[in-house]
Amino acid sequence: MILLAALLLGLLAGWGLASWQRRAYRAPEFKSVWLVFAAFAPQVLVAYWPGAVEFVPPRMAAATLPVSLTIFLVFVWLNRRLPGMFVVLAGLVLNLAVITANGGWMPISPETASRLPGGSAPEAAAVGTRLGEKDVLLRPEDTRLEFLADRNLIPDLFGYRAAFSIGDVFVAAGAFWLLARPPVGVVTDRSGDAYN
């Protein structure tokens, strides 16, 4: 939700800036965009489809996220010249590091999880239990690279609350920048014709 909000804000900022400068808005032109779909597909299976729990072996499920993020890494590296992509790259590396160091899932402490909607008391939380799409409950002392985990909470605004990592901040900022800024060196007039 918070990442999609960053995208929406970036799109609105980009469109607003383009209108103010009296030029057509141009979305970033990605190379090898098929890699995004190839990288996301395995996540659909293990992170976004609860039914998969029954037939995907835990070891395979735990390997899926690092593999998926590695494919994303290739995509981001190929598109590193786009404005904002280096910020996304930083977030990706941070999230990949902490996820890989903690058995393939993003760690979250029972204390942090207890402050999320529907969270139970920290002492009642079963450590080692998966939470949400990509998280796993781990005590801070058992977490590697704990400072990169989902340990930050957004303020309880509009009845929505979420925990996020430092890597998520970079991903959100990079996504915003990608959509808010036109590609470097490309200027377009209202008709959409590009010239350098």
Binding site: F37, F72, N95
Partner: protein, 50 residues
């Protein structure tokens, strides 16, 4: 008439290309941020003990 028709076709093809490009870019970005980011709002039904 032919000139107007060809201009209209050019405009239509340009709009379609731009809209399609924007749609693909936004879809790719949505999947990218959802795939790379890992915030948690406690939602989802997945609670598995390892």
């Amino acid at each position: 008439m032919n000139s107007k028709l060809s201009k209209l076709m050019l405009l239509t093809s340009r709009i379609n290309r731009q809209h399609l490009q924007l749609l693909v870019a936004i879809l790719a970005l949505v999947l990218m941020v959802l795939g790379i980011g890992a915030p948690s709002d406690g939602g989802g039904a997945t609670r598995i003990r390892f």
